[in-house]
């Protein structure tokens, strides 16, 4: 190490470092143009001059090529240096008057204009620094570039001014050029192909080393071996000069890893349909035709357009956008007969977001059937129409045309009156469908699982996580296109099934970490260690880290303060442990990123060093500081110092916290004995946990008892029989029929429930750790369409039973009409019942099999046969001659009875005239309505949605959890759905339940609230405000009690409690006062 003095301050430097390197390392600004860390210094631009005093001599010299020497005295910003740089800048300005980069640097060095004349081409931007030549020679080892001519004519050139044949078109020269004046097309005959980001749908460029997407796990960059020059021909490796941690490993090869597993889950996702270039929509030819994925990236605030909606052709905000639905879905011509299930909703969402980004923009969606079948989807669709004024037009668009000049796009469509119209748009979005991912066929061969006819993984019709191979399960869009809630549910179901196969081995491969005994620090004065993190350049690029350390060293009780490049790295944590031992530190403050990601890591380090993990405090000087105050380094440093002072003040008031462990009762209670409840019980019991199944009726089965036919020939009654047999013979399942839940008390892991068994006097009481709510739904009982007035008007359920029994009358029928949406999508039940379209078509097809000569009419609003049902039912029904008549929302069919004969009057929207039908039977496709859930919901303290179905914790991310811990939801109690979808939810609840049942105990969090009950006045503001129902009022003692398991440490109770009776362990009033005092110092 050598010691040098820079600007009157001493710095340590390695003997082989240059003055420039030492300055850069210590955040001392020196301007450069011809310097690059990967290239040998050349001292050509001279801007890096500094004043060096050595052996009594003082001179100006270029710092980039000057090695440090012991005792050197350097001034980087003396008047002499400044003058020198200013003259140089003036010369550069004269040579390249139009270069933005030169002008910017001149501005930074306070040079406004040049006194010299421009003596070359005024458009010249090359400063002849030679970086391009050197990078080509030294780094790429190609020597395609050189200098030509001399004196004033000197320039960068390829030999003989011809295209270079050794040039690799790697672009390194253009990349390093400080004035960005290299034109690759003049150097090489090859056209450079930019690397684009897949995540940004090709709309943004990326480097050969890149992070795949911002939330990638693990969030580390990858090297694109197809673009990395080192991987391609052994050159470059320039990146190694930038990674201070030497983390780059170019030699890494793909490795084959062998893992012994008991079960496998396939979940590789989907690809989107890519419209072929040059098809009638003009995708990739007309710039303003985007796919929905591209549009999605455009409106993302972290995307390539930063959330600004703009036409690709001219960057102007669009005034009118059209979405074309079913591109690559429901289309035999491109071999995609199925419905992609999600496009109607995402197009609606995109249209709404477009309106939010650009108020006043017109958004039109062209569609065939609106498939808003999911929970609360219909409401979203209604809001889009009514609140956001999104226009929906029912027409499939065959073609998009473009105006060559304006790049406006036009569409021809048929309106409701049958007139052909043309409308012009600024932008057209193709709502592309979902298809099997690229490598799925190959993967399926390796895994030896079957694909179905659409190229997705084939699954059991009732158990849609089961593949054709035992032990291999599938989840997500790999089995069928589906939305997020269904994907998440199926994932949990697959996890549950996979866990079942290996349940006996649970926990056998876990290695328990052993920590040293905790040191008792209660009798010691605080001895605080402060560790400040650079986070690479994330923090130190803005905040003066060294200054923070210097201030920290002066703070009360601080024994040690230091900085490190990455405090979270393994060596840094080792150092923290060493310092704790060496200096007897008993409180640790880390100034770095955020406790959200890094607190557990540091707390573990404390534990490893024998300290209680809560003797730890973090100051956020990255996310809440350097990242947001990039342009204010001085204030940012001040703020960071404040944060550290406050953290240190709080640290001195920290005391150890010990977590309570509450044992878990490893039993589940399943409420409801329909197919959902039974499958949930089986899923839990098969994983080895005791399960109590409660059914209010005298026998199990629920509404499955009334379903006789499957769409693909599967047999619901066989499923029912088998499931009941499995339940009744299961050693871990206890069944209570004729039983209702009377009272539930307790909390996750420790519920107590009393059950009332009908006709028995004494109630049964059970202890359990989780609850599954599978209380089902009810069929809508129609009051419309002459139901109950004629025996020829019946529901699909009744019709299905007759079909199953092949009743003789069926063969004699000439005409049958079916009316859809009976008791759905109306004022009383504003949601879609999801199953009725498919149920109707299933029955219609079966009827046609029995009586091929009969005519079947289906009167509908939208046919919602999503997924493969589109092909299996809807297209098949059309091919089999079933007639579809669409009616408008405000023109419901009218049914009259004359002498017992049915007449159906309806207005056909296609023919635009009224039709009179005289069917022999009228079948009503009735919806699903909720049970009366209010009482149980109150007992469970869980919410219902507007339609009185249970409301889950989060529609997408936690679709079968309640916000109350330990309670889960499946089947029709959640929302209308098919048998197989209910089973998926049921199995998923099994997996969710196991996350609790598999634990011996639940541990309280460190930051829970605590109540000093002697001072509690019982005002119960905290009880009301607690979002987790974790606080209750003890009527006897008149004080509140915190349930530490339920408490999530949000602190709301501490805010409402005026006397400070409720305080958080990690945010005591005392600690907060100390922090405020420290701040105000």
């Amino acid at each position: 190490m050598v010691l040098v003095t820079i600007n009157s301050k001493e710095y340590e430097a390695a003997p082989d470092e240059t003055v420039l390197e030492v300055c850069k390392k210590n955040n001392i600004f020196i301007p450069t143009l011809c310097h690059h860390p990967s290239i040998t210094p050349y001292s050509s631009c001279r801007l890096c001059i500094v004043e060096v005093t050595q052996k009594g001599w003082t001179k100006l010299t270029a710092s980039c090529s000057l090695p440090v020497k012991e005792g050197m005295i350097i001034a980087t910003n003396s008047p002499h240096v400044q003058n020198g740089r200013k003259i140089l800048m003036e010369l550069y300005l004269a040579r390249c008057p139009t270069s933005e980069q030169i002008k910017e640097l001149a501005n930074k060095l306070e040079v406004q204009k040049t006194r010299f004349k421009t003596y070359t081409d005024p458009d010249n931007k090359c400063i002849l620094c030679g970086l391009c030549v050197r990078v080509c020679n030294e780094v790429m080892k190609v020597k395609a570039l050189g200098f030509a001519h001399r004196g004033a004519k000197r320039e960068i050139a390829v030999p003989f001014q011809e295209f270079s044949h050794v040039c690799m078109t790697c672009g390194a020269c253009a990349f390093v050029c400080p004035t960005q004046c290299i034109n690759l097309s003049k150097l090489s005959p090859n056209k450079p192909v930019p690397l684009t980001s897949d995540f940004d749908a090709g709309m943004a460029q990326r480097g050969a080393i890149y992070t795949q997407f911002p939330q990638a796990i693990p969030n580390v960059p990858v090297i694109d071996k197809k673009a990395c020059m080192y991987a391609l021909n052994g050159t470059c490796k320039s990146c190694e000069n930038f990674c201070e941690k030497d983390a780059l490993k170019h030699g890494q090869e793909d490795k084959e890893i062998k893992v012994d597993v008991g079960s496998v889950i396939i979940s590789p996702g989907f690809d989107t349909y890519e419209p072929p270039k040059g098809d009638s929509y003009g995708y990739r030819i007309f710039p303003n035709v985007l796919t929905s994925i591209e549009f999605e990236r455009m409106i993302s605030s972290s995307g390539p357009y930063k959330g600004h909606l703009a036409r690709i052709s001219d960057g102007q905000p669009p005034k009118k956008i059209a979405w074309l639905q079913c591109v690559g879905s429901r289309d035999e011509s491109c071999d995609r007969q199925y419905c992609s299930s999600v496009c109607c909703m995402y197009a609606t969402k995109e249209a709404i977001i477009a309106k939010e980004h650009l108020p006043g923009v017109d958004t039109h969606i062209y569609f065939m059937d609106m498939r808003s079948f999911g929970k609360d989807f219909e409401k979203y669709y209604d809001r889009a129409k009514d609140e956001y004024e999104v226009v929906y037009r029912r027409c499939r668009i065959p073609q998009v045309e473009q105006d060559r000049k304006t790049k406006h796009l036009s569409i021809r469509y048929v309106d409701d009156d049958g007139a052909l119209k043309k409308e012009s748009y600024d932008m057209v979005v193709l709502s592309v469908g979902l298809q099997p991912c690229k490598d799925l066929a190959e993967m399926s061969k390796i895994l030896e699982v079957n694909l179905n006819r659409y190229g997705f993984i084939e699954t059991d019709p009732f158990f849609q996580v089961k593949t054709s191979r035992k032990g291999i399960y599938a989840s997500g869009t790999v089995t069928e296109p589906k939305d997020i809630p269904e994907s998440v549910t199926q994932a949990s179901a697959a996890a549950g099934e996979a866990a079942k196969d290996i349940a006996a081995l649970r926990g056998t491969e876990i290695i328990q970490k052993v920590y040293p005994d905790e040191k008792n620090v209660s009798n010691e004065n605080p001895r605080i260690g402060v560790f400040v993190c650079h986070c690479g350049i994330n923090i130190s690029g803005v905040v003066d880290v060294k200054k923070i350390v210097a201030v920290a060293q002066t703070l009360p009780f601080v024994v040690y303060a230091d900085d490190s490049l990455y405090t979270c790295s393994q060596d840094s944590n080792e150092k923290i442990k060493e310092k704790i031992k060496e200096l007897g530190l008993n409180r640790i403050v880390i100034a770095s990123c955020t406790p959200r990601t890094h607190e557990p890591l540091f707390q573990d380090t404390l534990r490893e060093a024998g300290l209680n993990p809560h003797l730890f405090e973090m100051a956020n000087i990255r996310d809440q500081n350097s990242w947001v105050h990039k342009n204010n380094p001085l204030s940012a440093t001040e703020k960071a110092i404040d944060a550290v002072r406050m953290a240190v003040a709080k640290a001195s008031d920290l005391s150890p916290i010990h977590h309570a462990k509450i044992p878990v009762v490893n039993r589940a209670l399943v409420i409801g004995g329909g197919i959902s409840g039974m499958q949930a019980a089986l899923s839990i019991a098969d994983q080895g946990y005791e399960t109590t199944l409660v059914e209010k009726e005298s026998d199990l089965g629920g509404h499955l008892k009334e379903i006789y036919l499957g769409a693909q020939g599967e047999k619901p009654q066989v499923l029912l029989k088998q499931t009941i047999e499995q339940i009744m013979s299961h050693p871990h399942i206890q069944v209570f029929t004729n039983t209702v839940v009377d009272h539930i008390s307790g909390y996750v892991g420790n519920f107590t429930t009393t059950l009332l068994v009908k006709k028995e006097m004494s109630p049964a009481t059970i202890q359990h750790g989780v609850i599954i709510v599978a209380t089902g739904g009810l069929p809508y009982e129609p009051t419309e369409y002459q139901y109950n007035k004629s025996k020829d008007v019946l529901t699909q359920t009744a019709f299905e039973k007759d079909l199953f029994e092949e009743k003789s009358y069926l063969k004699n029928l000439k005409e049958v009409a079916m009316i859809q949406c009976v008791g759905s999508r109306n004022e009383d039940h504003p949601y879609c019942s999801r199953v009725c379209c498919s149920e109707a078509l299933k029955n219609a097809l079966r009827f046609k099999e029995l009586n091929p000569d009969a005519t079947v009419y289906v009167l509908y609003r939208d046919i919602r046969t999503y997924g493969f049902r589109e092909d299996l039912l809807y297209q098949k029904a059309r091919k089999n001659g079933i007639l579809f008549i669409r009616f408008e929302d405000d023109h419901e069919p009218e049914v009259t009875l004359t002498d017992g004969k049915i007449m159906v009057k309806t207005r056909d929207t296609l023919l635009r005239r009224e039709l009179h039908l005289h069917p022999d039977k009228l079948v009503l496709s009735t919806g699903i309505i909720p049970q009366d859930n209010t009482e149980l919901a109150q007992q469970l303290k869980v919410p219902l949605n507007e339609d009185a179905f249970y409301a889950e914790a989060h529609v997408k991310l936690r679709p079968i959890d309640f916000s109350a811990d330990g309670i889960f939801l499946c089947g029709l109690a959640h929302s209308p759905r098919f048998i197989e979808e209910s089973i998926l939810q049921a199995k998923a609840t099994g997996a969710r339940a196991a996350t609790i049942l598999s634990k011996e105990y639940l541990e309280t969090k460190g930051n829970v609230a605590r109540v000093i009950s002697r001072n509690c006045v019982g005002c119960q503001l905290c009880v009301e405000i607690c979002p987790y129902d974790a606080i209750t009022f003890d009527e006897e003692k008149k004080v509140v009690i915190v349930n530490e398991i339920l408490c999530q440490g949000c602190g709301a109770c501490c805010v409402v409690c005026p006397s400070g009776v409720s305080q958080q362990n990690t945010f005591t009033k005392r600690q907060i006062v100390s922090m405020i005092d420290a701040y105000l110092e």
Partner: protein, 373 residues
């Protein structure tokens, strides 16, 4: 609503009211009565709990509010409310305070019959006990009232001068002076089913000219409201750390104001707890950094902290100001603060027991000006 009148005999308003109260007590409809009555020295009127009608010599007009009646009801009902009806004679500000305490689970209205009294205003305790005029304060007030002059105004506590609403709401029975010819009669109104049942059984004459009362109530509310608006405008300027510190300069951190406040319901005040105790080095460090450090250091913090804790429920009774040994005119800060804070949450303390305290209500549309809209 039942509208009745009490006939005033011999020009004795107080005595006639007492006849009514005594009648009420002996009817058995209520088991006891909490009512302001002069102490034996006659110097001051305090709330007295009376169960024997013979001992009743109350003075419902006495212009004095020595302690919070609401706080007394809280004390009596919090552990266990009475099993039979208890009559409580209260002024409007105290009824409002009681409603707030009910919301905070610090009092119960079970078996509490609120008898609200129209309140022209009250005098500070010392003005009352050493009243400069030749009459008793009650006589003085009644005379002034009959004359419809504003001679009493100068004696009123500042809170009373700008009273939010001198006419009781949320009472079961209201004894009304506004609009009555008090030489002849005072109004008795039932505002609830409980009140109605009680009045039904007492032989009282029907009120004849209901419109007079209505008009007078409207007038007095308008008048007070106008004064309050002027007051708010005048005191607008007490803002910013310098002005506020100056305002509280005389505060000796005795916490009397907290003791007098009906809303301050904590068992142990945060500012009496050890939260603000600190090691000597912390004090010394502060002194070192600034060169000096005013002690006690938490007086202003206490004032602002207390304000932060109770201001949304502040009913502007002014008892804090009356309790201040150093005569800090607290209402000049508390009334404007209450007005602004309550307006921010559209909250009306004392209006309705079902209106939740803003602290525990989440509204998506509040404080839109903070952060993203």
């Amino acid at each position: 609503m039942t509208h009745k009148v009490i006939k005033v005999k011999d020009n004795d308003v107080v005595g006639s009211a007492n006849d009514f109260l005594s009648h009420l007590l002996s009817s058995g409809k209520i088991q006891a009565l909490l009512v302001p009555q002069n102490t034996p020295s006659k110097k001051v009127a305090f709330p007295v709990l009376i169960s024997d009608p013979k001992k009743l010599h109350a003075d419902i007009v006495a212009p004095i509010l020595p302690v919070s009646t609401a706080a007394i009801v809280s004390k009596m009902t919090k552990v266990q409310p009475p099993s039979k009806p208890l009559g409580v004679v209260m002024r409007s500000c105290q009824i409002r305070a009681l409603i707030e305490l009910v919301k905070l689970n610090q009092a119960s209205l079970m078996n509490i019959v609120i008898i609200g009294v129209d309140c022209p205003g009250t005098f500070p305790i010392n003005t009352y006990t050493e009243f400069p005029e030749k009459k008793t304060p009650t006589q003085f007030l009644l005379e002034v009232w009959t004359k419809k002059s504003d001679e009493a105004e100068k004696y009123f506590r500042s809170a009373c001068q700008v009273c939010k609403d001198p006419v009781p709401t949320n009472a079961d029975i209201v004894l009304g002076f506004y609009g009555a010819d008090i030489e002849k009669e005072i109004f008795v109104e039932a505002h609830s089913e409980v009140g109605k049942n009680i009045l039904q059984e007492l032989s009282l004459e029907d009120e004849k000219e209901g419109k007079n009362r209505e008009k007078a109530v409207k007038e007095i509310r308008n008048e007070k409201n106008k004064k309050r608006t002027v007051f708010l405008k005048e005191k607008e300027g007490i803002k910013g750390i310098d002005k506020v510190s100056e305002f509280f300069d005389k505060c000796v951190n005795c916490h009397n104001c907290r003791q007098a406040c009906p809303i301050c319901y904590c068992k142990e005040c945060l500012f009496d707890s050890s939260v603000f105790d600190a090691e000597a080095y912390k004090f010394l460090r502060r002194a070192e950094i600034k060169g000096l450090f005013k002690m006690p250091n938490d007086a202003l913090l206490f004032q602002l902290g207390r304000m932060n804790h109770m201001i949304l429920s502040c009913v502007e009774c002014g008892l804090c100001e009356q309790a201040c040994p150093n005569t800090i005119p607290l209402m000049e800060v508390f009334i404007p603060a209450a007005e602004n804070a309550q307006k921010e949450f559209d909250y009306h303390p004392g209006k309705d027991t079902s209106e939740k305290i803003p602290m525990i209500v989440y509204r998506e549309d509040e404080f839109l000006e903070v952060g993203e809209k």
